[in-house]
Amino acid sequence: MIAADRVKPDRAAQVQACLATVMDPELDESVTELGFVSDVDLLPDGEVHVGFRLPTYWCAVNFAFLMADDMRQAVQRLPWVTRVQVHLHDHMYADTINDGVAKGAGFQAAFGGDAEGGLEGLRQTFLVKAFQRRQQALLQHLLDAGHTAAELVALDIGGLQDLAVDGDGRRLVERYLERRGVVVGASSGAAFVDATGALLAAEALPVYLRDLRRVSINTDFNGALCRGLLEVRDRELVAQAIHIVRRPLDRIGVT
């Protein structure tokens, strides 16, 4: 075997870390955690190829496009990266999506007349759903831990951050605060607000939480289905782990 692999080993880790920040907009989970990223190919000249696949050939095109474009942008931020190519595999619109993302074209440009507008509205809709879902999980956790509704609705952000919670609770607080900015611009004030930015009332909290539950039901449905379908697909295809290709330099003629 030729020891001509000049790709720095930490570059693969850097690319993976970037990809881990890309979320499936609908599921509110990272594309790497969901197992969507199938291969990463690091070329010596700083070009990066990222391959990904979704659970089925039919997965929603708009979400596929968003994820592909987010991956390209995330990896492109690394200082040593010269070019990023994202390849969606095994999808009915793979070619259109791959071409559109490669050109840096917007969704509408890639799909022409079939797409009626940009994807920003859709992205915002799902960010709000992610906010609601994270809030519901956190509030439920805190209520189960013995905090009262009156106490929780009175918390400001600092108070929430200072709250004594267990490890799971800490993670839920962080995840929630990451998305709080989706509905309110100010990074101070009441910790818990609804999707319109309005304050919550203690006596209405049980009904409010029950309504938020439906948002979780949807994302849980998709999450379970996606994971299940991907698992089945993987069983019939190849390995699950991200395959990092480190290209020996002599094979591609780079010195």
Partner: protein, 339 residues
């Protein structure tokens, strides 16, 4: 027929069954192959391991196997035969009204044969639908709004031509409109599982019943809002129900929300055969009890009365089936066959 421990007989009408041909010979293109692959993945993911079929069997099982799975090994008493044409993907269609009616004819009193229409057939399709309704005495249709047709990737029930078809259905007494709400492709930049068109159609056609298969999942929140406002919107439990085994807690949340928003009179059991089979689904549903914390959150009850409605009484009401008379017909049929 399902018998409870105390001997009570529960009459079961399965609102969603298919007999497809997805064999290689019938696949028209890669879409046909991918479509059945996707179904098979659903089957593999949610079925108990001992209920898994081979891929060959799954691609084409046929009417006799179907009859055995539904009515002999399964607990169904009757089933609503839903067509799914998909003629852009399959040479002879995935399953058509004509093919389904031929199978149904072999098993008298077991099936209700539903038809279909596609608003994109415009004026010519109206006549064809009228003829189909007369030939098969249709009481219902199954619409697949996400079906591909040439360049089109789907349609909405609020489209002008869709309204003409719905008006004709109402006039012909084809009152039960089953709508598959799953992944549609257009419009590409909207939420691909949008159920909003049901709202418009249900308001405009008060004489029709809209049974939303899969309860709008994964858009349960949108669906619940619509179904609560419209008295003629129902939820079909196909796809939601199979979670009962793999993820009972999840199923608990779904069914409790549906019971709270729609109530037990508006939900219909469907196996989605041949993706899943009624034997294990019914056993799991009959044994199922809502966890106390979830029941407390929504304040709903899923008792035997509610289960009976979901499993058969609601479908019987929508399709005008007299259960006592139907039981007699089936008993006569059984004795005729055994002699």
């Amino acid at each position: 027929m399902y018998k409870t421990a105390s001997g009570e007989e529960i009459f079961i009408i399965d609102d969603h069954v298919h007999n497809w041909d997805a064999s290689k010979a019938n696949q028209k293109n890669v879409h046909g192959e991918q479509f059945i692959n996707c179904f098979y993945a659903y089957h593999t993911f949610l079925s108990p391991p001992e209920k898994l079929w081979t891929r060959e069997k799954f691609e084409r099982y046929g009417g006799d196997q179907m009859h055995r799975d539904l009515f002999v090994d399964g607990y169904d008493d009757m089933a609503i035969f839903q067509p799914t044409y998909l003629t852009d993907f399959y040479v002879n269609g995935f399953n058509t009204t004509e093919q389904n009616a031929a199978v149904a004819a072999n098993y008298p009193n077991r099936f209700i044969v539903n038809g279909a229409f596609d608003p994109r057939d415009e004026a010519a399709g109206l006549d064809a639908f009228e003829e189909l309704a007369a030939t098969y005495k249709l009481k219902g249709v199954k619409l697949y709004t996400g079906e591909w047709r040439g360049e089109s990737r789907g349609y909405k029930l609020s489209d002008p031509w869709a309204e003409k078809y719905l008006a004709l259905a109402e006039k012909l007494g084809v009152k039960n409109i089953h709508v598959h709400k799953g992944p549609t492709i257009l419009p590409l930049d909207r939420d691909a599982f949008d159920v909003a068109d049901i709202d418009i159609a249900a308001t405009n056609f008060q004489g029709l019943n809209f049974i939303v298969e899969h309860c709008g999942l994964p858009r349960l929140d949108d669906f619940c809002w619509i179904a609560t406002q419209e008295t003629n919107v129902y939820g079909g439990l196909a796809v939601a129900l199979p979670f009962i085994k793999k993820n009972p807690k999840y199923f608990s949340h779904v069914i409790s929300q549906l019971l709270m928003w729609l109530g037990p009179d508006k939900l219909l059991y469907g196996s989605d055969y041949g993706i899943w089979t009624p034997d294990w689904l019914i056993e799991a549903f009959m044994a199922f009890e809502l966890p106390a914390d979830i029941a407390a959150e929504t304040g709903v009850i899923l008792d035997l009365e509610a289960k009976k409605k979901i499993l058969g009484l609601n479908a019987a009401r929508l399709y005008g089936i007299d259960i006592v008379a139907q039981k007699k017909l089936l008993a006569n049929e059984k004795s005729r066959r055994s002699t």
